[in-house]
């Protein structure tokens, strides 16, 4: 799959005068354009349609993807994306609606958003959900702002500190800083839980709240999560849940029951919308009743009056409208969120229902534990416990000298069955390999991955150079990241000489 030669830049395929599109003739009299405002050149590529298609199809073939093979990227939930989700999102009546159309002409969209809010509430136990945040990180920002607004409304402005476990995603402290708060890091104990002694020492009236991922980034369900929430609540703080790992606990436990006050969902992870090479995602935020009036807006509510001329009996008496929560933290993006992503997530939930979602989490956890057991005699576990949907290995096998996690990852690429796991995260495990198989993978796929990992462990002893030089068969081999950072080349610049300009790529 990855044998293709390297592909020139689209700019290097350019030839003056070529075009890849046809546009209609101007059918109205032209108007004057102020001449001093006009630009004189626009250095974009000039290519034909076949150039565009071949170029981007060839580029696509240089990628690994879920639809090509196993993608056990820890913390990213790279599950299979059912194609019905895309089919639903591509329905013309969804695609071709403008965000400012009158509500009477978008009742289908509003109904879908309302039902999705309700479904996320049911799954999480929260009382209200806002769908607007575009990604998990934006959901975090919204969530911390909600907590801030709550404290301000209670005239409690001395609080400045957010507690964050040392295993947390980097977005947690970054979101905290964006809200003007300080971060205090809480240690993890030997079993991978929040260290209760350390937490107790930092619980004070200066605490805004705590951001906790549960299951955490070690793939472990915190054994004291209720006590943690109680301690934070007792000092007046609120509990923020990072919902990145919700895939482990749907229908198993509701985060709100555990004591979380706010949580974001990563719909692109848990609810199986394609990751797009790095977005678009969606990061709705859910809250308990006392925080509902602080949600970002607008949210969708049922209107008091029924739809005036609804011809469909199923919709009789149901009309939906946009609504601003009374003490909203404001808008986090324009319009109502990444709607087409929300359509996909809703479709997924409708296909599975409550039992299906529980089955997803059960299978995700079984798959992870199966793989853990297959690998734990060859590799060291970061923490030796039953895991949830993912687990963390503490780097290369103990007897592999001079070999690092990066080398194992690159060798996995050579073997061609799998994308490597997440590497060097969480930061508290040196040389971490974080493996999340997800529920959509078969036993055979897991067995193949385990066999590859065990083979690599043997190679690490017998022929470490094989790993250090990997990957051997990819379109490019290990890339010089230091050079990329020290001498940044972040855009195409036309070659100065005429011979080179417009010529096909010279392969360096």
């Amino acid at each position: 799959m990855m044998q293709a030669a390297s592909e020139p830049l689209i700019f290097e395929l350019s030839s003056p005068g070529r075009s890849g599109c046809s546009l209609p003739e101007l059918d109205v009299p032209p108007a004057d354009i102020p001449q001093d405002m006009l630009r004189h050149d626009l250095p974009l590529p000039e290519v034909s349609e076949i150039d565009v298609v071949r170029h981007y199809v060839r580029l696509s073939q240089l990628n690994h993807a879920v639809d090509i093979g196993f993608y056990p990227l820890g913390s990213c939930t790279m599950k299979y994306n059912p194609k019905v989700n895309d089919a639903a999102a591509q329905l013309s009546g969804f695609v071709h609606t403008h965000p400012y159309q009158p509500a009477d002409t978008t009742q289908g969209n509003l109904c879908l958003l309302y039902e999705l809010q309700q479904a996320l509430c049911a799954i999480s136990g929260f009382d209200a959900v806002a769908l607007q945040p575009a990604a998990g990180a934006q959901g975090e920002l919204a969530g911390v702002l909600i907590i801030r607004a709550y404290h301000q409304a209670h005239a409690d402005q001395r609080r400045k500190v957010i507690l964050i476990p040392d295993s947390a995603h980097g977005t947690n402290p970054a979101s905290t800083a964006m809200c003007g708060y300080q971060t205090v890091e809480i240690k993890s104990d030997a079993r991978g839980n929040v260290d209760l002694e350390d937490l107790r020492a930092h619980c004070s009236h200066g605490v805004v709240g705590m951001m906790l991922t549960n299951p955490n980034t070690l793939g472990l369900f915190d054994e004291h999560v209720c006590e943690v929430a109680e301690m934070v609540h007792r000092c007046g703080g609120l509990m923020y849940g990072d919902g990145a790992n919700l895939n482990a606990i749907m229908g198993i436990v509701r985060p709100a029951d555990l004591g979380f006050d706010v949580m974001h969902f990563n719909l692109h992870k848990t609810f199986s919308t394609p990751h797009g090479g790095g977005g678009p995602g969606a990061g709705p935020v859910g809250v308990t009743a006392r925080l509902a009036e602080y949600l970002p807006g607008p949210v969708v509510v049922r209107a008091a009056a029924p739809a005036p001329d609804s011809s469909d009996p199923q919709d009789a008496g149901r009309r939906f409208e946009l609504h601003w929560p009374e003490h909203t933290v404001g808008r986090v993006k324009s319009f109502y969120g990444n709607f087409a992503v929300l359509v996909r997530a809703y479709t997924y939930i409708r296909m599975l229902g409550a039992d299906g979602l529980r089955e997803v989490s059960q299978a995700a956890v079984l798959n992870a534990n199966y793989l853990r057991c297959k690998l734990q005699s060859t590799y060291r576990l970061a923490v030796d416990r039953t895991c949830m949907h993912e687990f963390v290995l503490a780097g290369p096998p103990p007897d592999a000298r001079g070999v690092h996690t990066i080398d194992i990852a690159k060798r996995l690429i050579d073997l061609g069955h799998s994308h490597p796991p997440t590497v060097y995260f969480p930061l508290i495990v040196p040389e971490a390999l974080m493996i999340e198989p997800t529920e959509t993978e078969s036993q055979e796929t897991l067995d193949q991955f385990a066999a590859d990992m065990i083979q690599i462990a043997a190679e690490a002893q017998a022929d470490p150079q094989l790993l250090l030089d990997a990957p051997h068969h990819t379109p490019v081999r290990r890339l010089d990241e230091v050079r990329a950072a020290r001498q940044p080349v972040v855009r195409y610049e036309a070659q100065p000489t005429k011979e080179e300009h417009g010529e096909p790529a010279h392969h360096r």
Binding site: L44, C76, M78, G108, A119
Partner: protein, 453 residues
């Protein structure tokens, strides 16, 4: 259907490898009293049923493929060449994730490098990142970046009141926990007096061109604003409309430091407001303060050209609480759509789209201005949007238009409600025309407005 491929035999075999007799034993860390809650959801549907239900839901909307609309205001109807969806639907692009392993992600990485290069070309700037969530968050991140360029020692951000109200609202949301004051966007009358508002506590001034009302800013005034900002060491942020940039002088030509905007018009459908994509470009000297993913060119061990995520020391996963933004996942697939769209149209095609937008909007404006009872409010040059004053409330006009099968323009009294008291009466309408409008549609609109009054 849960898409779980485990067989019953396989499941038993796997449980025995794990050393448990049932899957329940894997969840003993979950507090017993909360385990297995009842989840109230509608019963699951088959694929056929779910598609039927969603089809029905989608059909209760007014579909702009079947009804003419004159709405713009930050979300634009443009023609999408067939190649765009053909490429973005490819599994290799849409079911990959952030290109952490560069050797098996060169497709995404190179496409993002090309996108960055095209945004630089379009804006006349030196560096562009691989995208933000939308135009509004790109502006908010631009304000935060300017704040950090000035090391947090200055506290005033000047926003033109003619910037999209939702964008200004998002900026306010983003800065509410920081020691930043937003000034000058309270009254439209202040627009021409922005240079006077810049003082030694100002870290940035932001304008939109064409502005929210479609008006084009005077070139000399823009240059003067840049000079006034730079004289005080403040940065100039320009919010743009990428289609207009194909025709008009780019922000890089008049002293802009950070160019941002909504790139939805470059190959992304309306989708009821999202996913869209914020473009973000700046000068090279500020690249280390820029947020977001950035792809750079380098070489592999054999000296062959390749692409990697670079300058990641700026980002949250390295800098954590010292990062200036928390952004990670962005809008990569939308950026790919932009790259394919711009490649497909090329400089001549993109300029042609811009010209069609310009001329059609002016034809519509001239037609409406001649109608009894309607006045042009827009007096300055405009691109493809303009404001008219109607003889009766816009709400009533639009209701009549809808009966004629037309979705009218934006009722200006209905936007920016989250920004406090509005400045508009209920009679002003913001209209937009693009290349999708034929002369017949424009004439139909002019005629319908005449009937409606």
């Amino acid at each position: 259907m849960s898409y779980v491929p485990l067989t019953e035999t396989g499941r038993r075999d796997m449980l025995s490898t794990v050393g448990v007799s049932s899957v329940d034993e894997l969840f003993t860390d979950v507090p017993r009293q909360y385990r297995y809650p009842h989840i109230e959801l509608p019963p699951p549907l088959s694929e056929m049923e779910v598609l039927r239900e969603l089809q029905r839901l989608s059909e209760t909307n007014a579909d702009l493929q079947h009804i003419v609309s004159f709405l713009g205001a930050g979300a634009y109807q443009h023609f999408l060449p067939s190649v765009v969806n053909h490429i973005t639907a490819r599994s290799e692009f849409c079911t990959a994730y952030t290109p952490y392993q560069a050797e098996i992600s060169q497709g995404t990485l190179q496409a993002m490098f090309e996108y960055q290069s095209m945004i630089c070309a379009l804006t006349g700037m030196e560096v562009a990142n691989a995208s933000h969530y939308d135009g509004a968050t790109a502006l908010a991140e631009g304000v935060l970046m300017a704040y950090n360029v000035l090391r947090g020692q200055r506290h005033k951000a000047i926003l033109s009141p003619a910037i999209h109200p939702e964008y200004r609202a998002v900026v306010r949301t983003y800065v509410q926990g920081l020691d930043i004051e937003i000034v000058a966007d309270d009254a439209l009358a202040n627009d021409t007096r922005l240079p006077e508002r810049i003082d030694d506590d100002t870290f940035c001034v932001a304008v939109q061109n064409p502005n929210f009302f479609g008006e084009l800013q005077d070139m000399d005034a823009l240059r003067a604003l840049a000079e006034a900002a730079h004289a005080r060491r403040a940065l100039l942020i320009v919010v743009g409309y990428p289609i207009a940039l194909a025709l008009l002088q780019p922000p890089g030509a008049y002293g802009c430091d950070i160019a941002v905007g909504e790139a939805q018009p470059l190959g992304n459908a309306l989708n009821y407001g999202g996913p869209y994509i914020g473009y973000f470009a700046c000068r090279q000297q500020h690249v280390h303060k820029m947020a977001g993913r950035l792809v750079g060119q380098t070489v592999d061990v054999g000296g062959k050209r390749g692409f990697v995520l670079t300058l990641s020391a700026r980002e949250q996963h390295i800098k954590r609480e010292r990062a200036t933004s928390n952004i990670c996942t962005n809008q990569a697939l939308c950026a790919l759509a932009c790259a394919v769209y711009m490649s497909s149209l090329g400089p001549a095609g993109l300029r042609r789209v811009a010209e069609l937008c310009y001329h059609k909007a002016h034809y519509l404006a001239r037609g409406i201005a001649q109608l009894r009872g309607y006045d042009m409010v827009t007096s300055r040059p405009f691109f493809n949007e303009f404001v008219i004053r109607c003889p009766m409330p816009v709400r009533d006009i639009n209701a009549t238009l809808l009966r004629h099968g037309i979705i009218g323009g934006l009722d200006l009294s209905q936007v920016g409600q989250d920004l406090g008291p509005d400045r508009w009466t209920d009679r002003e309408m913001l209209l937009c025309a693009t290349e999708v409008h034929t002369r017949r549609m424009l004439d139909q609109m002019i005629h319908a407005l005449e009937q409606a009054s």
